[in-house]
């Protein structure tokens, strides 16, 4: 067991647990944040995705010890109903999710892509989303939402 300190959704947190335990279980069980999900435990689907210092991280395989002192953000920290991230706003406007269990992967990966390259082309978007799964097959509305988020960001930038 070891004490590990990091920042979760803007707040300092401490977890006393096996340092080899994946971050996902610390977030869900020790800290009670339910939103990152267990999908595969193998970093093959994205359901557990969070941001580590702004970059997508599959929390199901990242050992807790590797997170010490870092900044972790979940979709709860990405935005709020009052102040949504453009990709969250676009997801709601496009009514994207069906079961919704996969959304952490798509939202956090798309948010990082849009932050880095707000004008990404369709081909660049498709490339950036490799390795993410959605079993309900909402891919068409995911693409629409990402393009809508690009438009939202462009109009915000020009405003």
């Amino acid at each position: 067991m070891a004490m590990v300190n990091f920042t979760l959704d803007g707040k300092p947190v401490t977890v006393d647990a096996d340092p080899g335990m994946p971050l996902l279980y610390a977030i869900r069980n020790d800290l009670g944040h339910n939103n990152p999900h267990f999908g595969c435990g193998l970093a093959q689907c994205g359901a557990c995705t969070v941001h580590l210092d702004g970059q997508p991280l599959r929390s199901c395989m990242a050992p807790l010890s590797s997170i010490a002192g870092k900044t972790i953000t979940t979709i709860k920290g990405l935005g709020t109903p009052e102040k949504p991230h453009p990709i969250q706003q676009a997801y709601i406007e496009e009514q994207v999710p069906q079961c919704g269990y996969c959304v952490n992967g798509w939202l956090m990966t798309a948010a990082a892509l849009l932050n880095a390259n707000p004008k990404a082309t369709d081909a660049q978007i498709r490339d950036a989303l490799i390795g993410l799964k959605c079993r309900c097959g909402t891919h068409m509305s995911i693409m629409r939402a990402i393009k809508r988020a690009q438009a939202l960001m462009a109009s915000a930038a020009s405003a």
Partner: protein, 760 residues
Amino acid sequence: MAAESALVFSRRDFLLTTGALVVSASGLHSSSAFAQTAAGSAVAKQFPPPDQLDSWIAILPDGTAEAFFGKMDMGQGLEVAIAQVVAEELDMSIDRVTIRMGDTATTCNQGGASGSTGVSLGAKPLRNAAAEARRILIERASMVLSVPAEKLTVTNGVIAAAGASSKSVSYAQLIGGKQFDSAVEWNKAVGNFMDVKGQAKPKAPSEYRLVGTSAARRDVPGKIFGTSDYVTDVRVPGMLHARMIRPPRGGSTIASVNADSIRNARVVREGEFLAVVSENEWDAIQAARALEVQWTDGPTDAFPGTDGLHDHIRTAEVVKREDATRKGDTEAAFKSAARVVQAEYQWPLQSHSSMGPACAVAHVRDGEATVWTGSQKPHSTRDGVAKLLGLPPEKVRGVWVMGPGSYGRNDAGDAAMDAAYLSKLTGRPVRVQGMRSDGTAWDPKGAACVHRARAALDASGKVTAYEFISKGLSRVNVMFNESDPRDCLTGQSLGMPLNPGAGLGTPSESYAFGAKLLAWEVVPPLLDRCSPLRTSHLRDPLGPEVHFGSEQFIDEIAAAVGADPVEFRLRYISAPRDAAVVKAAAEKAGWTPHKTHGKRVARNGVLHGRGIAYAQRGETVVAVIAQIEVSPKNGRVWARKFTVAHDCGLIINPQSLRQTIEGNVVQGLSRTLFEEVQFDRKQVTSVDWASYPILEMKDAPESIDIVLINSTEIAPSGAGEPTMRCVPAAVANAFWDATGVRMRRVPLSPARVKAALAHI
């Protein structure tokens, strides 16, 4: 989710918060109403009682309404559709109507999510109950206001005299927080066909103002901001975390277990039912990996292996055959035929592979049980758990909480049973969740089959006889719900007698060929007990499987007589709505006949083609056109564009319908191009997303054009599955158009496509 309060809430609490005439987890009933239902009836006791209006509709003290729905929204927008239907009949705004779904304590057994009947059957009693509630409220308002009922109007839950709005009374004032205490006529059906009627006549479609609009779903924001709870998030104080231990080989059994091989966890075992439990989830996961179990070998050849599966099916004995359609004398027609066209098609075993493996939480104590489940049939969960634990069903409460996706009988039913039995054995609340292989290798599989098709042509090229015979593993080797523990790994591992069913399916179309035989044959399961390859319902059971063959075969007949696939279909389709969707799809896609099938090279060696397929599903009809690109070099098939024409009668919510159709196309495309459960002679080797790949964004279509035909005069029929059954054949027909090569086995994976096109 803090679940503890849900276990112990009292009937009084429940009435105060929701107004519903229902039970608590302790199994108390509204005894008078219950007795009415049970008296003189052969139907099993139902609770809540379907013949009471209060079981369906409640008006709360604040004037908002609650409707109690015995089916669930799996994410395709059913919740808001039901809210639209109820709000429509109550003359309220949608945002003042809440739908309570899938809790057996508060909802009647409407069969759960089943067969895309959420609207077509599920909405019926809600519509009638809401209309009846409105009728009773108007009647009461008439007395209160001393205005004749026919002179009253309702606006958002306020009843007023026409032309004298000062004379008004609200639903809240009339009944808020109190019960209707009024009977409705129940048709005595339990499950999908449950219906009730009051004296009121629901609105005519011409009067609709909410039904038919694209009202926004209410479940979306919670999913996007991470505030919605899933079944994986249910926590009961004092609960143990569990992982099931499944045999490493089909049919192998436990020789010995070394309980000392794990730390911070303990073994729970009865017969072949084996699990580890721990206070801590990570400890349970590590213990499941570390546990030393000696297993017996099991049968030498438990399975035929992926590549031997279809040979196995061809030669296996037939345990049941059904000639579902037999019209005219096919044998005579084949004997006198000028030409015979024939082909065989193969469909593999496929996995639900829901987004996450199943999870359930159970609390068994003091002669009662509560199970939180992602199963799409929580009333079946309740019944199955009751049988498993030897409890009366009224002492068991099944609570559906959104799970990680559900497309039929996946691993959720097993998880619910496992959790209940573990809670019984440990005396503690238990949360069990699978690892990825439990959701991929161990879920019940969609049936594999082989289809034999023959058509007899006369000298003029007219089809005089048509035969389509499917032979395969049963769609109900284990039942499509978990109402009997014998159909679950739990019961089977405890040695319960087996309960196999035999069923498959036949094409759903309206081709008027001279003589016609549509039949199916079921073969025995590959392994009879605790099989990772047991088969059951996977989204649109036998839809994609059968129509991949039948709708490709229609194209093969068309090609044999030199006809265009669209024109050929229209030549034989007999139902006008069927012809309408084929025409609508062709028109939207700009389909024109061409005779240059095969090697339709555009650029860079990529071949282009288009194909059509059409089918019925219940009263719904769909036609799908796929436009694809095939790369012989790397075997990639990109279905770039789809066009769908869809008629499911009256449309409740066009936006949800479009997205449901899109999901069908994409999931159907994934099953067409990528999905096949891999296994050797001992075990399933598809255990994760690497060994069971599904479609990713790079292979998603560029566009899906959808033509919605809104047949407002026809009652709504299902939309959750029909489109999927057209996708595989549309793609395969496009593949032939592009390459001149027929792909008669799914999936059209890169390796198989490369092999098929090696000569090009």
